[in-house]
Symmetry: C2
Subunit: 209 residues, 2 copies
């Protein structure tokens, strides 16, 4: 991207991350942690492969990502955010908070990949029962898994399966999001096809109704 050539922190930030696709690439790396070129492609439906390669080069030069050779037998390059890149999480969560109302009128053609649930959950979930013992939930949507852990008032949402979840939810992405964001009751989620493996009362840790 051409520089705006303005001595302004906002303009300088946009010089680095204002290009098309750039912040979405950072989103993917925030959600998935270290991942491969191919993982990014599948997580960014619609991106041209040459554009992804070019953006990754720019992010590398700007010091936002690193490339590391995975040890055998993986034999692939892993892309990972540097601390400077991770610092964009606050920006991305704020943009997501602002953009959330736009989802209400989202047309049917839009894609929704399961791992995209991670950021809204990170933004909105709070531990409603901070004095209860720590608990771990696993969310399963299609072939992907998300782990939600609450411990003494802190909530951690991460991509990937959980070792010993206290409760596992299986369902479609939209229903599970509606459930956690309080837009759908537990009963309605169950009717809508969400399965609960474990004591579903543990959900009260995060949702009221």
């Amino acid at each position: 991207m051409r520089s705006y050539q303005q001595r302004c922190a906002l303009a300088k930030a946009l010089d680095v991350v204002g290009d098309r696709w750039t912040l979405l690439i950072v989103r993917e790396l925030l959600i998935r942690g270290a991942c491969r070129y191919t993982d990014l492609r599948t997580g960014l439906p619609g991106i041209a492969t040459n554009l992804l390669a070019e953006r990754l080069r720019e992010l590398d030069e700007a010091g936002l990502i690193t490339r590391e050779e995975a040890p055998p037998p993986i034999a692939t390059t892993l892309l990972r955010l540097t601390p400077r890149g991770q610092a964009l999480e606050r920006v991305i969560l704020e943009l997501g908070r602002w953009g959330a109302p736009l989802l209400a009128t989202s047309p049917g053609g839009d894609q929704l990949l399961p791992h995209w649930l991670v950021l809204p959950l990170r933004l909105h979930l709070v531990d409603l029962k901070p004095r209860d013992p720590a608990c771990t939930l696993e969310i399963r949507v299609e072939a992907e898994a998300i782990t939600v852990r609450a411990d003494r008032g802190a909530v951690d949402v991460s991509y990937g399966p959980s070792k010993h979840p206290d409760l596992t939810l299986i369902g479609d992405a939209q229903s599970i999001l509606n459930l956690f964001l309080g837009r759908m009751s537990i009963a309605a989620a169950k009717t809508g096809g969400v399965q609960f493996l474990g004591p579903k009362e543990l959900l009260r840790r995060f949702v009221a109704n």
Copy 2:
């Protein structure tokens, strides 16, 4: 801008404000409040006039700005952010916070317009003496003025002159910013050409040294 067609709040936000120049236009409106087309042009050096007109149309359609006919004898259209547009302030301040370190290596060719000081001041100033009586500072850089008011722990930074400032500072934008951000002492600012009209001790309300 083409839609990313992703059911993700971040992608939806970028569908609306991810275009080149768009967030900088919002920055200008956040700083200046209601302003004219021409004000935006001067505040956005480098933008093509057709692009500005097109972006304003998009912002209007997205419900982020309104156009109102100013009463005579002004006879011009005033552009103003809607509440929805103003809600972008948090996003813009976060992006600015992230981008601030990039200013350290800013090349000499960059422009720095005086009113751009408003956002960094809004982001960083805190009332160090919340029990002192309310006070008003006026900052004058070239032909522009910024008002900084501290009252019971709250700091308000706004574009435009002040009626009865307790202290007026006159100087160049960079020195004044360095002063308020604690990167330059009051003594050094004075040596560097910053003038103080009034009791410069009032600056202790915001800076330590």
